[in-house]
């Protein structure tokens, strides 16, 4: 049996076990109780040996009573839709699920369950995932998030389809077009035609595309990926897959600012508090921070910008960075001391330096950024 089918069976069993427990409690006139992991920073444990956020022992307990009866009814209502989807191999986005609930509530017997806003339906979907401790994708419910835009002359990806068929994609045949995997890492198998030296994840997909167009992947045996800002589940799962299946060093290259360190790099490396149950499969703890580093500013005489504290967005980012130093277990861990030092540097100096600043080093040489990146990898100039 393929891993996809195993996963489907596992999900259905888990869901039905919970429903069975609820129904038999009700038959005995006992209150059913649902418990789910509390997904928040105060219940996140970071252990450098594990490498990603794992859940603490705090649970969210929902006992059936006047306050929870609506939530539990909605949970079972949406669970039924999801299980049905899984059974018939239908695939949906969260928004589509929201409209399916609309279709069932407009005139039907479940009118009182109607979700006024999609966000209400989304939070029930998330609650079901926390409850069953599974990924939304295992329920065939996908967000619009795709894996990073990936380029390589060596990588070959095999996708196992729901119908038992296989699709094989050789990335070298795609020219300068990116390969963007679906967020279902368990359905993918990676192979390389020739030894790959490293994987480079670039924060900006535009910069990644420039590197590829200028021949980066032709000159280096590597995998190049555009992270597209804050990494989606797709990007995170894809990085994890590359890390585990290919065992190549992964470098992250992005802006030198608090936002990139906290929201992009940390999420890629250790996952997030909101997805505690997913982090195991959706974080790549071995990813290294290639830069930009504070010392790069001096070494390459890079232009930088001063953070404007009267700009609400920038002021918020600065405050969040300060909070992270205080509350985020990732930055409190000794192993990440150097990253913490960078955060301190950024808060103290109130500056930010963008990844594209490498273009300023020698504007006449379009390959200069590539040369610097390779130089940094070779010389070990990363955290």
């Amino acid at each position: 049996m393929s891993s996809v089918l195993q996963s489907k069976k596992k999900v259905m069993q888990k869901a039905k076990a919970i429903c069975e427990a609820m129904l038999s409690d009700l038959e005995k006139a006992q209150r059913p109780v649902l418990t789910a992991v509390k997904c928040s920073l105060d219940n996140s444990i970071y252990n450098a040996k594990v490498g990603y956020f794992t859940p603490g022992d705090k649970m969210v307990r929902s006992e059936l009573n006047v306050s929870s009866v609506q939530k539990l009814s909605r949970t079972i209502f949406v669970l039924d839709i999801l299980l049905n989807n899984l059974e018939i191999d239908a695939v949906n986005t969260k928004r589509e699920i929201y409209y399916m609930t609309k279709g069932l509530t407009i005139n039907g017997e479940h009118k009182s369950l109607d979700f006024e806003e999609q966000s209400e339906c989304d939070s029930i979907i998330d609650y079901i995932m926390d409850l069953l401790e599974i990924y939304r994708e295992e329920f065939n419910c996908f967000a619009g998030d795709r894996g990073g835009q990936t380029y390589s002359q060596q990588l070959v990806v095999t996708e196992f389809l729901n119908d038992g068929e296989k699709a094989v994609v050789d990335l070298s045949t795609l020219g300068t077009m990116p390969y963007q995997p679906k967020n279902k890492p368990q359905a993918l198998k990676l192979k390389v035609k020739k030894k790959v030296d490293f994987c480079l994840v670039v924060e900006s997909e535009g910069t990644a595309n420039t590197l590829v167009t200028m021949g980066f992947t032709k000159r280096h045996n590597c995998i190049l990926m555009g992270a597209m800002g804050v990494p989606t589940n797709g990007v995170r799962g894809w990085c994890k897959l590359i890390q585990d299946q290919l065992k190549v060093p992964i470098y992250f290259y992005g802006d030198l600012d608090a936002y990139t360190l906290q929201n992009i790099y940390r999420t890629l490396k250790a996952g997030s508090a909101a997805s505690l149950i997913r982090n195991k499969d959706f974080s790549a703890p071995e990813v290294r921070f290639l830069g930009l580093l504070p010392e790069d500013i001096k070494k390459y005489n890079l232009p930088y910008r001063v953070v404007k504290e009267n700009n609400p967005k920038e002021a918020r980012a600065l405050k969040k960075a300060k909070d992270a130093l205080k509350n985020d277990p990732f930055f409190q861990d000794k192993k990440n001391k150097k990253l913490t030092q960078i955060l301190h540097f950024l808060i103290k100096n109130k500056i930010r330096c963008e990844q594209q600043a490498l273009m300023s080093v020698d504007p006449k040489d379009p390959l200069k950024p590539e040369k610097i990146i390779i130089e940094k990898i070779k010389s070990g100039s990363w955290v």
């Binding site: 039905k16 069975e20 129904l23 409690d25 009700l26 005995k28 006047v66 609506q70 009814s73």
Partner: protein
């Protein structure tokens, strides 16, 4: 210029020409001011003699008035007060500044002796007839009735048509003005608003009233038999005096030594504070000298030394409060009330004057109003309703400065909150600083506004508790509905997922109703508790 003559005018002449300054600026205001002055006098007289006041107020439209767009209005106010001696009547009603209260530093309603004489003048100017008075003191066998006009040139009362008659009461006064005016019953400046406001801050008052247009007389009973005692005035505080006042005050002490003058002529001056004054420039050699021997020039230096010396704040014993209990009872007389919150602050010294702030906030069941309309703000100074020039008043300023949203009321920025609420704010002080002689607006100092604001915030906290309780009751009701709505859907959903047989569904539904039945009972109990608490609060007050 040289041939122009300088003439003197009497006080009466001045006010006769400037009646707008004392509340007679329009026919509508004239009616309200006349009523106000009459009621204030009656209530003050009753309080001075510890009599529980029972007032009859009758306002009638008699026909067209003498002036354009006016009606001839009769305002009759009758009280069970001590009555006035016949010889005092022309002075009280026909002479300006003839008052038993002028500058006495007490929290009485009337202060100067202008209002009622101004009403007589208005009646005389517009209807050629002053005030008709009936009066009887307990010492008089027969009552006396007379008409009193104002001799404007001489500032004297003129008695006309004096008669004696048998009156079926031991003592009391009845006055009737017939004036040109216009009736405004409702709204901020309305007669009903005035009467309701007066009822609110006078729990000891029984009021019978009939205003043109009503079907019948209305009677509102008193809710307390305790007549408020207006505290006696205290000696002046040196820091509230100006130099001229100080010298005049000193001269009245003549041969008294400066030391004795300072300790007996003022409040809050102790031997310790005289020592401090000496450190601040008061010459030691003056201490035992008589006031006369010191002389005005030196008194100026004494005054400066006093002003530079820290003294204890003036006493707050001279202020009068209605009290939370009486206010709670009184507010229930105004209509069916959903809930209310009353608060009496401790007396406080603001701008070197003792002051006490009291607040009552109520939501009436029978006055739904528009949710977007501002609340009805009732302002009081020494228990007299202030009904005009709301905008410039310290009380309004304070009410607008509070963030009522945090107490559950709707409010736009820097304005009064909205909703079907009545907010009564009463300020009592022997020295209220008004912006004008008609006493419609309290002058705002930062200290006073802050004190009122604090009172409102405390009352707001009480109000928020009520609103939260109400909200809780609403929530429980909503939850009860949830049970009926969602319970069966939950069971149906589970049965569908598990493809369970019908008998399991029936069993689960039974189980569910048992569980939720327990919740329903609990919710009902909680609702009952909430209701009981509300009822208890209301009955506490009644």
């Amino acid at each position: 210029m040289a041939d122009q003559q300088i003439t003197s005018s009497s006080t009466a002449e001045y006010f006769a020409k400037n009646l707008q300054q004392v509340g007679f600026s329009s026919p509508t205001k004239a009616v309200l001011t006349t009523l106000k002055e009459s009621v204030d006098n009656a209530l003050d007289a009753c309080e001075d003699h510890q009599i529980l006041p029972e007032l009859h107020v009758e306002i009638l439209k008699l026909g067209p008035g003498g002036g354009r767009n006016t009606d001839l209005i009769s305002i009759r106010v009758s009280d069970n007060g001590p009555g006035l001696k016949p010889e005092d009547l022309p002075r009280v009603f026909g002479e300006y500044l003839a008052s038993s209260k002028f500058g006495r530093g007490r929290c009485s309603r009337g202060q100067q002796g202008i209002g009622i004489s101004a009403a007589t003048t208005w009646a005389q100017l517009t209807n050629a007839c002053g005030v008709k008075v009936k009066s009887k003191t307990s010492a008089m066998k027969k009552a006396v009735s007379m008409q009193i006009d104002v001799n404007i040139k001489k500032n004297q009362g003129i008695v006309k048509n004096k008669e004696t008659f048998d009156w079926d009461r031991k003592h009391g006064t009845e006055i009737e003005f017939q004036i040109d005016g216009r009736l405004q019953s409702k709204g901020d400046g309305g007669l009903f608003t005035y009467l309701e406001a007066t009822i609110l801050v006078n729990p000891h008052l029984t009021l019978h009233y009939f205003i043109h247009g009503m079907d019948d007389w209305k009677r509102t009973e008193r809710v307390t038999d305790v007549v408020p005692v207006v505290p006696p005035s205290s000696l002046p505080h040196p820091h509230t005096m100006k130099l001229g006042e100080f010298i005049t005050h000193a001269m009245a002490f003549g041969k008294t030594s400066l030391k004795n003058f300072l300790s007996k002529g003022f409040s809050r001056v102790t031997p310790g504070s005289i020592e401090l004054m000496m450190k601040n420039g008061l010459k030691k050699t003056y201490i035992n000298k008589s006031i006369i021997s010191i002389g005005e020039a030196e008194l100026k230096k004494v005054f400066a030394a006093i002003q530079n010396t820290e003294l204890p704040s003036p006493s707050t014993k001279t202020v009068l409060t209605v009290g939370e209990e009486a206010l709670s009872k009184s507010i229930l007389r105004l209509g069916e009330i959903d809930f209310f919150s009353v608060l009496t602050r401790k007396p406080k010294v603001c701008d070197f004057k003792p002051v006490v702030v009291e607040v009552a906030i109520a939501r009436f069941k029978d006055r739904p109003g528009d949710a977007d309309d501002s609340i009805q703000l009732l302002r009081f100074a020494n228990r007299v309703p202030l009904q005009f020039d709301k905008g410039g008043c310290a009380i309004t300023k304070a009410a607008e400065s509070v963030n009522w949203r945090s107490y559950g009321l709707n409010q736009s920025k820097k304005s009064l909150p909205t909703g079907p609420y009545v907010m009564a704010i009463s300020l009592t002080s022997p020295f209220i600083k008004f912006k004008n002689a008609s006493k419609e607006t309290v002058d705002s100092s930062d200290e006073l506004v802050e004190e009122i604001r604090r009172a409102l915030m405390q009352a707001g906290q009480k109000l928020a508790k009520h609103l939260k309780r109400e909200q809780k009751a609403g929530e429980l009701e909503r939850k009860l509905k949830y049970i009926e709505k969602y319970g069966p859907i939950l069971v149906t959903g589970l049965v569908k997922i598990l493809k369970a047989p019908e008998r399991r569904k029936d069993k689960a539904l039974k189980g569910l109703s048992q569980i939720l039945g327990r919740d329903t009972e609990l919710a009902v109990e909680e609702l009952e508790v909430a209701d009981q608490k509300l009822e208890a609060l209301e009955s506490e007050a009644s």
